[in-house]
Amino acid sequence: MGITEESLVGIFYEMIKTASTSIPVDVYDGLKKAYEKETNQGARKQLEAILQDIEIACNKKVPICQDTGTPYFFIEMGEDFPIRAKIYKAASEALRKVTKDGYLRPNAVDPFYKKNSGDNTGRYIPWMHLDIVEGDNLKVWFMTKGGGSEFPSTLIMSEPIEGFDKLKRGVIDTIVKFGPLPCPPLIVGISIAAGGDIAMTLAKKSLLRPIGERNPDPNLAKMELDLLNEINKLELGPHGFGGQLTALDVKVDYAYRHPASFAIGIVTSCWATRRASAIIRSDGSWEMTSKHLLYNGTGCTIVR
């Protein structure tokens, strides 16, 4: 039995539904740990409401947030995986079904004709980033990203000599400027590249890495931790109410730059970071590679 287009739609459906209703375990743990040690009463109140919301959503299988976001697929396609061009069609079909079943709010709007497609599909939506790799597996990372958390997206085109200085200032200025609007605690994705588009894409993609996972390059790992440490001294805190947790994590990535350019991409994800990942094999077998929460009556426990 090989993978079929129909089963691919089903797998995508499961991934999207899970992402919208069950928070990844790494995000839940990060929020819960912060709640337990937070002493600022305003921040505690917000974290408490956030944790309750997460638990209700996974218990009742309803969306964590009513802004169910814009759908992104990041795909690593093995060159021998049997379904290729039709992957996009399968992703769109899954989105239509998940929307119809009430797990996503229709969020795809034509900017010229102001029409909402009603099913979360449309020109370039879902957005899909595809890399072709060796082998015959399909690796999929799905993320759905709310409108508010897109506002801080910042691109800085720097002179190479000033690159790292502008990066440091740019990250802090961005978080300060947008304050509570992107729904902190945030995950901050940063990338350096030659072109602006490359920097923004890699920054966005870096948000897929679980909280606490460090960049394998020790310099970049240190940069992630240093920035995280300093961002949390801003005391913006959950929804701007202060305390120790402004960011849950910082992720850094890069591409080789051009000798004359140093593009800096900065993106943020809200506390309700909704993502799911899976490996799908040519024989039709598959498994979710991300871990999510499901309420079992005694508290949220890991089911995947």
């Binding site: 009463q41 305003g42 109140k45 917000q46 408490e48 409401a49 956030i50 309750q52 919301d53 997460i54 209700i56 959503a57 009742k60 309803v62 969306p63 964590i64 947030c65 009513q66 802004d67 169910t68 009430g102 709010r105 909402n116 709310g146 508010g148 790292f164 200085d165 440091k168 200032r169 802090i172 200025d173 978080i175 300060v176 304050g179 509570p180 609007l181 729904c183 310099n219 970049l220 240190k222 940069m223 240093d226 920035l227 300093e230 961002i231 001294k233 801003l234 005391e235 913006l236 929804h239 701007g240 109410f241 202060g242 809200c270 506390w271 309700a272």
Partner: protein, 205 residues
């Protein structure tokens, strides 16, 4: 010192005057949603001298576009967290003046014009935890009505909810026009200057 209040609609002036920025409030009674388009529609009607489908005096206005489904001919609210309030900043003062709404609930705070109107008309602004759509839906016990649904669609329509213990709501603009986020974000900006200075010493190359 932060106080916690459990209030019912309609909200009265003496209760509202007690609320200070930072206070925690839970609301029971009637909350009415309006985001960008419902504000425009309501103000257009009032401009023409017509009445709104519901008298908003003393009620709570909620900046929210819910996820709603119809089951057995009854509306159910699945998720209903707040939307960004600043989008309504240009018209909220007029809305407060003309409708007699006493509390506005949203996320992210509001600006000077709204704060001035709140001082003048004895109203408050509170934030509900952004993103907590499932928690909000738990507190919505009944959909009493929905207006302009055909014209505006589900997220933009004016929904009338009966809520119980809807919160936690944190007061960020009080009836004296004090604006919590203005003060708070100034502190954050000052911290930002210190953090930028500290970051200068780090090297990652």
């Amino acid at each position: 010192m932060v106080s916690e209040y459990h209030l019912s609609t309609p909200l009265t002036d003496d209760v509202l005057k007690k609320l200070k920025i930072g206070d925690i409030v839970y609301i029971s009674g009637i909350m009415v949603t309006a985001r960008d388009e419902a504000h425009e529609t309501a103000l257009e009607l009032l401009e023409k001298g017509e009445k709104l489908p519901i008298d908003l005096k003393g009620l709570v206005l909620y900046h929210c576009g819910p996820v709603a489904i119809k089951k057995d001919n009854k509306w159910q609210i699945v998720a209903a967290g707040p939307t960004t309030s600043m989008r309504m900043e240009s018209v909220e003062h007029e809305f407060i003046e003309k409708t007699g709404i006493k509390m506005v609930v949203g996320k992210g705070g509001m600006g000077k014009k709204t704060a001035e109107a709140m001082k003048k008309f004895n109203a408050v602004y509170a934030v509900f935890t952004g993103g907590a759509g499932a928690l909000a839906a738990e507190k919505i016990k009944e959909v009493k009505d929905v207006y302009w649904l055909d014209k505006l669609g589900v997220p933009e329509a004016m929904w009338v909810f009966r809520v119980e213990e809807f919160g936690p709501l944190i007061i960020t603009i009080d009836t004296e026009g004090n604006n919590y986020y203005e003060i708070r974000l100034n502190e954050v900006a000052q911290n930002g200057e210190k953090v930028k200075e500290a970051l200068k010493q780090y090297k990652w190359t």
